[in-house]
Symmetry: C2
């Protein structure tokens, strides 16, 4: 399969999940979104399950590529952009719909070794990214030397994931932004060596 | 319906959700768990959906009753017990299974007005409980006078809900406990007027 072909299938899966959710998704939905036949999809991916496992892998690659693009920015800015990324702006219904579909997929993970393995990789990657940002900030003298990167990473990720889930499930546009503001005030601003610089 | 009969149906629903999950749950499963007939269940609840809406209401009542039982305890102890309640101990597979079923139900809420309304009530009740604990702590002089109860409540709830979801979906027993420890260290210990008292 060419890279272009793979990307077209993965982006079609993204759209189909937003449109149909996880539980009702069919190979036909993905075929319709991609303009390819179901037999071509089945040629590359035996089952819908295989395709979805590959799709979570694709999300991980996308995340890695985005993170590489950020690596040159100062730690404080990267941390803020990272946290902001969890917040859906009002009207970003597509993102909320996609998060709901992923939430259903995540709820299957305890019963599905392949999902669980991919989601653990994703989890470690996200936490590792936050750890890296905090370490950079300590090294560059912007964050306090006694900051604990691992603990901060767990706290930030759990908080923003929880906030995003409540925002998506309760359809409350401002929820995640409010949680983010509280996280800044109570946790992230405390990381700064010079709190006067906190926005 | 007598209170006993209602409680028996609600507890049977609790067990059936743990056993079968949300998506596969049938009225027959609930009937089997309760020792009642499906026709009796349908006499009280027109549909499975109506029964599940009532079930979320039942969870809310249970939570309220538990909170009333805690009201006399000191604020710091109540806050710690409240936060600890989100953490599954290793081996509490029943609680993880139930949380997964609820997660699937929550993922339906954007498309289901009755679920959404019940879940918003539940959300407000949990946050209101944390607000009340923080206010009590400020009043009794244990928590700092400038603590912001609303912001603390949003932060604590989003954090522990996110931690619980990751613990249940990734089947990682220690995850929520680690997040809780980070939450204590970075947020809750800061609330104390006398930080020496932090455990």
């Amino acid at each position: 399969m060419t890279d272009d072909s793979r990307e077209a299938i993965m982006e079609a899966t993204h759209r189909a999940l937003r449109e149909h959710g996880y539980a009702d998704l069919t190979m036909q939905d993905i075929a319709d979104e991609s303009g390819k036949s179901t037999s071509l999809l089945h040629y590359h991916y035996d089952t819908k399950h295989d395709l979805l496992v590959a799709f979570v892998g694709y999300l991980i690659e996308e995340f890695e590529a985005e993170e590489r693009g950020m690596a040159e920015k100062p730690a404080e800015e990267r941390l803020r952009e990272f946290v902001d990324w969890f917040v859906f702006a009002p009207g970003e219904d597509d993102r909320a719909a996609f998060h709901l579909a992923l939430l259903e997929l995540r709820a299957q993970a305890p019963f599905d070794e392949a999902y669980r393995e991919q989601l653990r990789r994703s989890d470690e990657l996200v936490r590792g990214t936050i750890v890296g940002i905090v370490e950079d900030g300590i090294e560059s003298g912007v964050f306090r030397a006694d900051a604990e990167p691992e603990a901060i990473a767990r706290l930030v990720f759990a908080t923003m994931d929880g906030a995003r889930t409540r925002q998506a499930t309760l359809a409350e546009a401002g929820y995640a932004a409010e949680v983010r503001d509280a996280l800044y005030e109570h946790v992230l601003d405390d990381l700064l060596v010079d709190p006067e610089r906190a926005e």
